[in-house]
Amino acid sequence: MPDRGPRSKLGVDANKEADMAKKQIVILGGGTGGTMTANRLRRRFENDAAEIHVVDRDDRHVYQPGLLFVPFGLAHSDEIVRPRRRQLRSGIAFHQRGVESVETDTNRVVLDDGTVLPYDVLVVATGVRLQPEETEGLSGLGWNERVFTFYTPEGAEALRGALDRFDGGRLVVNLVDMPIKCPVAPLEFAFLADWYLRERGVRTRTELVYSTPLDGAFTKPIASQRLGGLLTQKDIELVTEFNAGEVDGVGGVLRAFDGRELDFDLLVTVPLHGGAAYVERSPGLGDVLGFVPADKRTLQTPAKPNVFALGDATDLPTSKAGSVTHFEAEVLTENVARYFDGRDLDTSYDGHANCFIETGFHKALLIDFNYETEPLPGRFGPLPLLRESRLNHMGKLLFQWVYWHALLPGREVPGLGPAMPTAGKRPVPVHAT
């Protein structure tokens, strides 16, 4: 058993009783969702009402939106990484360990050193696992030489070197298949690459290609149209319904399952995503890709009523994004309290997501949507929606500060809540795309 903190001065029996009544909350993953949830729960419950444990395999909390800027020398990977422990309020136990398995029938988590953590409530927040090895040849020869991903700090750093040396040729951006976290990130990468190569004077010698398994630039029709328009404006070739099946990292060929080929000098890929590996070792917890099914409004899992999930780890039909995770954390915290009280759960999570989309030249776009409403033009507070502006770019840059100082500590951010605002939005008839 882990250390349970200082004992009170009461007699041993009273202590035992207090411990029995003390709820055990175990949170798997100390990233965006795990950290926010732990801090919110810690504020919600007195120290003697609940013990909170967070498990993560390492002590490096990455501000992932910052990874986008690393390849262009606009951020250094050191600047976007902080110790996980330091983001957790006092009174939260941190276990730096891998999760081996979850046993939902006995309410226990087993860690990779054999430690057993019993729980009254479990929160799954272990995000996704990148799986380049699932695509033939992708992580083979040429990986981190001609073939890169910016989805990890190491990959983003390696790509920075390659872009710095890049002297023209074919640069292909590819996302292998959905779902991926931050589905706009590869598009943003293409926009920024266009800007970066123009600044460096090599854009005229470069063919920039954006290839996607989707039938347009993005998943939702109106946003897809606008973003597709931006690709055209920036002279970036869009290749759709391209399901990457094989990579020749030496010859520089990306092959689709249907036989189409894209030659490249530099390939920037977003590999397949799956859930954490322990999910597969935990009977009844996840689906075949390792994602954890959860109720789309309450975040309770069908696995068992005392198991909740949030963030990228879930199978919910909304974006895998930090903003989503943040809105979910609010509802989830409320529902853990209601579960302990035996009350009906809060059903207010509506799929709300918002994302800044960097478009280069110090501008960005903002999209805001939920399960039912696709991204619409209009305004979100002072920020224009679905339209390029410098203000949005400032918003995106400012966000890192907000992340470390308001979102992770679990402070309320005015104007940012789990339900999508409708004021300021203009409904647009859906054009066929």
Binding site: M178, P183, N243, G245, F257, D258, V288, L289, P317, S319
Partner: protein, 105 residues
């Protein structure tokens, strides 16, 4: 929505040719839709995939993605593309008489 007459029965289909009512489906219909889409003959392997998609839709209300299909049906993704060259999930859904699979977000 349009009403088309296939195999001498009339069925309702959306603009892209997906049945709007899975109950109107039959095996003969499946064969005709396959031919319309360039698959002359449905082999055992085709049927395995089509039935898997259809069963999954009827029991859970949604059809699997290509990746889940590859993992769960026992037919590897590469082979899925050989069987249904124009996009296995979409085509198998169309042939299986269920709505177009929703993409991810």
């Amino acid at each position: 929505m349009t009403t088309a007459t296939i195999s001498a029965t009339s069925v309702d289909r959306d603009a892209e040719g997906f049945l709007t009512d899975p109950q109107q489906w039959s095996e003969r219909l499946a064969e005709e839709i396959a031919r319309e889409n360039g698959i002359e003959e449905l082999t055992e392997r085709h049927w395995l995939v089509v039935r898997f998609m259809r069963d999954r839709y009827l029991t859970t209300g949604s059809a699997p993605s290509i990746r889940s299909l590859g993992k769960e049906s026992g037919v590897p993704v590469k082979e899925l593309y050989q069987l249904f060259p124009k996009g296995p999930a979409k085509l198998a859904a169309k042939i299986g008489g269920i709505p177009k699979p929703k993409g991810c977000i």
